[in-house]
């Protein structure tokens, strides 16, 4: 057994180490890896926002793509059509999806189990159908291409047409979001979430308004999914109605399950591993979904708690 002091120091050390390695990448590698890692980080953020509601509250939502896609448009449309700045776009990419999540969640948290899964799919489908039809605003399936104006931070202007700058911006935002979520799931609020996941009736009987906490988690997750979508759009300079399709939520589900739901670090790991696997196998097999699906199914059968859950179980 490690002394408690060491244990307490383990996370900050590991976090700083990983962040430092990621921050050092642009000094050693060509642009390809920066683009690739930007994408991994964005999907990791999407996956941990999903992990909050699935892994901690126990709600399986296949509708997170709605908030992801909305986050993208919340950046693209104001900058492209209203001439707004990238900073306000990023704020909107949290606020707009969070507001939609409040609306969707208000109805959805009344349902449980598979009914909840299905209603979230339907809401996302309504979103993608509207998005694909309302082409004057969204560009439909072809999407909107735009050039984000420099991000004004007061002390510096960040040129987001530069791949390296974008990479650092995404790295910083994802790291902060991760710390925020980690702090939250360990806070007393997080303990309410976990209690609801473990036994809704018991949680209600000891005084927790279960629907209210589910809604709260759903809104936070929606806002962070939106932020992921906003960052994705910023890095691609492109937003599309196809991002709204419910099946895009599958990315978050797969990364969280494979890495280990309810751990936060698991979904990040899952995103990194699967995307790396996809990247290396794409030339070999031309069939990335095959690998993703196979990895997902075998995880469910062989290590239902995911990679992190499996490792923790073995350590015990």
């Amino acid at each position: 057994m490690l002394p408690d002091k060491w244990k307490a120091a383990a996370f900050p050390l590991a976090f700083v180490l990983v962040a430092a390695v990621l921050a050092a990448v642009p000094f050693f590698e060509d642009l390809f890896y920066q683009t690739f890692l930007t994408e991994v980080l964005v999907w990791a953020l999407f996956a941990i926002s999903f992990d909050l509601i699935f892994g901690y509250v126990g709600l399986l939502s296949f509708g997170q793509a709605l908030f992801f896609g909305l986050g993208g448009y919340a950046v693209a449309i104001p900058t492209l059509k209203l001439g707004m700045g990238t900073g306000s776009g990023l704020l909107l990419s949290v606020a707009v999806p969070a507001a939609f999540a409040a609306f969707v969640g208000f109805f959805s948290v009344r349902l449980t189990g598979i009914h909840f899964v299905i209603i979230t799919i339907i809401f996302a489908l309504i979103g993608s159908t509207v998005g694909e039809t309302w082409t004057s605003l969204t560009g439909g399936a072809d999407g909107l291409v735009f050039m984000p104006p420099p991000l004004d931070l007061g002390i510096a202007q960040l040129d987001l047409m530069d791949i390296r700058t974008t990479y650092y911006l995404v790295l910083a935002i994802v790291a902060i979001s991760y710390l925020f979520l980690r702090r939250m799931v360990r806070s007393p609020l997080g303990k309410v979430f976990v209690a609801i996941r473990e036994n809704e009736e018991r949680a209600r009987l000891i005084g927790y308004d279960v629907r209210r906490y589910k809604l709260l988690a759903f809104v936070i997750a929606g806002g962070l999914s939106g932020l992921a979508g906003g960052l994705y759009t910023l890095s691609l300079k492109y937003a599309s109605a196809t991002f709204l399709h419910w099946s895009v939520s599958g990315h978050a589900v797969v990364y969280a399950i494979v890495g280990g739901a309810g751990t936060l670090v698991g979904p990040v790991l899952g995103a990194g591993l699967i995307m790396a696997l996809e990247h290396y196998l794409v030339n070999l097999l031309q069939a990335t979904d095959l690998v993703v699906g196979a990895v997902l199914v075998s995880t469910l059968l062989l290590a239902p708690m995911g990679i992190v859950g499996f490792l923790r179980g073995r350590r015990k």
Binding site: L60, T129, V292, L300
Partner: protein
């Protein structure tokens, strides 16, 4: 106008009967195994894709109608035995697992069948006059076959020992075990039956729509809508809902944009889920 309406009504009924078969398969699997089978649309797609291959090889649609569902039934058997058996009692896990299976099957179809949509020639090319338009005879045949399969399914569930077992398991699983019904075997054959139904409707749909590796994705959601509105576990609720929804969708599309019709039917489904989660025809 009258002829347009007549065509829309006929199309609605034909398509409704095909959808009913798909939804019946999904609903049977849900009613018995409590599995929301996300791969159901992919099994429907596989039925259509297999039939395309059989027709390429032999030129015989009717042979394809027999062979393709059997082949998909075998796949269903393998999936149930190999994968779903161990996680059957965890509904959320099975949803995720069947989602993974869907990804794999779609990708396999893309890899081997390709990304382009292909058409199947009408096995019965004739048309009959309908007001001032011509309507394909084949569609009427397809509708008749769907209806016949449903009658056969009804007979199977009500007149055979296996059907009786299946209904007993739906009613009360523990009691069924106590009565010595081989529940796991019933699960297995139900999943196979559901897969066969999905594939069969895929073959039936193939001459009407084009065969495409993504064709199951939207169908899956339509089937969900039907099963929920008709009531999960309520088979005849599914049949009625399938036909009614297709008719409304078909006729409505004359007057409004299809996507508007889609949004309205999705909104209606949310309403049903919130107000009557047991479905319109459930108790």
């Amino acid at each position: 106008m009258a002829s347009n309406l007549a065509v829309a009504v006929l199309n609605g009924i034909v398509w409704g009967l095909i959808m009913a078969l798909i939804a019946l398969g999904l609903n049977l699997i849900f009613g018995l195994l409590h599995i929301i089978n996300m791969a159901h649309g992919a099994l429907y797609m596989l039925g259509a894709v297999f039939s395309w291959y059989v027709i390429e090889l032999t030129g015989n649609y009717w042979l394809a109608l027999c062979v393709a569902p059997l082949a998909v039934g075998l796949i269903g058997l393998a999936l149930e035995r190999g994968l779903l058996r161990t996680i059957e009692d965890k509904p959320l896990v099975t949803i995720i697992c069947t989602f993974g299976i869907m990804l794999v099957l779609q990708q396999l179809a893309l890899t081997y069948f390709g990304g382009t949509a292909r058409r199947i020639a009408l096995p019965i090319p004739g048309r009959f006059p309908l007001f001032d338009l011509q309507y394909p005879v084949m569609r009427i045949v397809i509708a008749a076959i769907s209806a016949a399969v449903m009658v056969a399914l009804w007979l199977f569930l009500n007149r055979t020992r296996y059907g009786l077992w299946m209904r007993a398991v739906v009613q009360d699983r523990e009691m069924a075990v106590a009565l010595g019904i081989p529940v796991h075997k019933v699960y297995m054959w139900t999943f196979v039956l559901g897969s066969v139904l999905a594939a069969f409707s895929g073959v039936l749909a193939a001459p009407i729509v084009s065969v495409d590796f993504m064709m199951g994705r939207e169908i899956l959601i339509m089937a969900f809508i039907i099963v929920i509105v008709g009531g999960m576990g309520n088979l005849w609720g599914s049949v009625i809902t399938a036909v009614v929804i297709s008719l409304i969708h078909g006729v409505g599309s004359i007057f409004v944009v299809p996507s508007t019709a889609t949004v309205f039917s999705l909104g209606f489904m949310i309403l049903v889920l919130l107000v009557r989660p047991q479905g319109l025809f459930g108790e």
